[in-house]
Amino acid sequence: MSHTTPNLLDIEGLEVRFHGERTVHAINGLDLTLKPGEVMTILGESGSGKSVTLKALLKLLPEKRTAMSGAMRVDGIDVMALTGRALSDYRGKTVSMIFQEPALALDPVYTIGDQIAEAVIRHERVSKREAMDRALDMLKRVRIPSPESRLKNYPHEMSGGMRQRAMIALALACKPDLLLADEPTTALDATVQIQVLLLLRELQKEFGMGIIFVTHDIGVAVEISDRIAVMYAGNIVEEGSVAEIIKDPRHPYTKGLLEANLHDADPSETLTSIPGSPPPLDVKPDHCSFAPRCAYAEARCFKALPPVLKPGPGRRVACILEEGRAPVMTPAREPEPA
């Protein structure tokens, strides 16, 4: 890692545990870095912890039921230590987020213009008039037709695609350094989805922010991102550039995901699928979480966490299969004594 360009985001050994009626080990020792202006996709199935990672970064998880440890730094700010006013300054200004369901994320009793202006006033201490001008400018940038009248619209008066654009306008109003996107196109039609993806790509170039994009759709990940991190059972099993992951997947789970993809599938053949289903995560994994579903699993996969190997710059694979191919850079993390 070069020291000339400091990372925008550094996550080291993040662990998130929910306790309540039952305990869930949602994130188990996650490491993730992001350079300024980079677009990273976290690819994973439901329950893999991808949304939890984003919420942890904004400290949106319910405090009383969540135990978090590890280190998170954005722009040098120690996220774990943020509270009160400093946390409010951080949310929306340094890091902001767009959600899957814009109808639920926007406030139904305020107009779009008011909601964007409120964020601008809070962070930049400008007058209402200046804030409304900024809101108008943002609606133009996200290419909402007739922005002047849309400024006075309530969320229910807009279509799904339009609401998602409005939410992107709101998230970018204060020019954050990092944008978190939690499946923002999953609820949209394919024709609208591609519009929103291309818009995000353009805005990323324009504003130069880093983006962490969460999705379960490999096609979407290819369209939007520079790099892909594949997540399974609360940790990243493989990371690399889009081309590396698509053309040369190394981890058996990534391979399985790509094979189960129906793109260009031959109708006369049975689909290759990954047998079984993801683990429940009631207990903290002390061995490879994918081993029970893995065709290549050996006895030692069930005994210890897999080593994290780095076959190339920016590439990592958490699997014993890589051992012959690449030098071990990171020793296996020892499971904590219970």
Binding site: E45, S46, P145, S159, G160, G161, M162, D189, A190, T191, V192, Q193, I194, Q195, L197, L198, H216, D217, I218, G219, V220, V222, E223, S241, V242, A243, I246, K247, G256, L257, A260, N261, L262, H263, D264, A265, P267, T270, L271, T272, S273, I274, P275, S277
Partner: protein, 366 residues
């Protein structure tokens, strides 16, 4: 096929015998003929709740479903694909049009109750479509019991079906829906639909809510069951890759109308209607060196309350001319594969569209 498995032979035979008995029209008679289906939902306004206008959810849709085939229906949300499915099951009443099920007209020769003997449906939300107070064994046995099957026999049938969809009855029969994962619940829904020994199963976004690795498992299961039980599927999805994999023919809908229908390979290759071409082009590319640069369509689909005049797609179509907003396009045959039809002025040599005379297939759309 899984002929070697003794356990499922009795049930398969039962279903096949019943199918044979019910197959009145013979193999050439389409299982479903839908003719000019219309379904308008009233929009009420004002103090007196007067009918102000109507959402024209399905507006003159005609198609057939042959015996043993899978018809895939695709389109954006609001195009009427789910309403079409509900019309086929009789969950929503028809405003106009005819539904002919194996030669029997619904309403005249066939009552709704008789229709339900032969048609079953699997929904998108696997949790909402199961009764949370019934164990999955009771859920599957419920339908047959209502139709007079003794409870012991119904229970046995439900165990056989659970086994067949890959859920070991010993482990799963006594569980409640909330104790299952999404993929397992969808398997229960599939087993429940088969318990009624249907001939036609309508799958409305049945795999859309599942994770990719589970989706592949369920699609494989559906293909096996279709061959084994001699079923006919109507498969609705917004995911074109899924529809392409599972369907024999594909029907593309836009704002309550059919814009293109034909054999899946032919539709996939030709994309005769500009909307079909745009819909296919909107699929995310899987090639990192060749990402989509220009969105194939701008804006959202128009509101079906007040659909555009003439060709309903003309407001978003890159080739729209004055004729498109003035006249409704005729359904014309597309060159090549048998049964491939589309409704576009550009394909109709006498429509007056400037691109129609040459008869070329949308070179510009490439």
């Amino acid at each position: 096929m899984t002929d070697t498995r003794d356990a499922d032979i009795p049930i398969r035979r039962k279903v096949q015998e019943k199918t044979k008995a019910a197959d009145r029209g013979g193999p050439a008679q389409p299982l479903v003929i839908a003719r000019d289906l219309k379904c308008h939902f009233p929009v009420r306004k004002g103090v007196f709740n007067r009918k102000a206008t109507a959402v024209r959810a399905v507006d003159g849709v005609s198609f057939t479903v042959e015996k043993g085939e899978t018809l895939g229906i695709v389109g954006e949300s609001g195009c009427g694909k789910s309403t079409t499915a509900r019309l086929l099951v009789g969950l929503t009443g028809l405003n106009a049009g005819d539904l002919i099920f194996d030669g029997d007209r619904l309403g005249e020769d066939l009552s709704l109750k008789e229709l339900w003997d032969g048609v079953q449906m699997v929904f998108q939300d696997s949790y909402a479509s199961l009764n949370p107070r019934l164990t999955i064994e009771e859920t599957i046995a419920f339908g047959p019991k209502m139709r007079g099957v003794a409870s012991g026999a119904a229970r046995r049938l439900s165990h056989e079906l659970l086994e067949r969809v890959g859920l070991a009855p010993g482990r799963f029969a006594g569980r409640y829906p909330h104790e299952l994962s999404g993929g397992q619940r969808q398997r229960v829904n599939i087993a429940r639909s088969l318990a009624m020994k249907p001939r036609l199963v309508i799958l409305d976004e049945a795999v859309s809510a599942l994770d990719k690795s589970v989706e592949a498992q369920v699609l494989n299961l559906l293909k096996e069951l279709k061959d084994e039980f001699g079923l006919t599927f109507v498969f609705i999805s917004h995911d074109l890759n899924v529809v392409r994999y599972i369907s024999d023919r594909i029907m593309v809908m836009y704002l309550g109308e059919v814009v293109e229908i034909g054999p899946v390979g032919s539709v996939w290759d030709k994309r005769a209607h500009p909307y079909t071409a745009a819909l296919f082009a909107a699929m995310p590319s899987m090639d990192p060196d060749n990402r989509t640069e220009v969105p194939p369509l701008l804006g959202d689909p128009p509101n079906p309350i007040d659909p555009p005049s003439g060709c309903r797609f003309h407001t978003r179509c890159p080739f729209a001319e004055s004729v498109c907003s003035a006249a409704k396009p005729k359904i014309v045959a597309v060159d090549g594969a048998q049964g491939h039809e589309a409704a576009c002025h550009m394909l109709d040599p006498v429509s007056g569209h400037s691109k129609s005379a040459g008869g070329a297939h949308l070179e510009a759309a490439e």
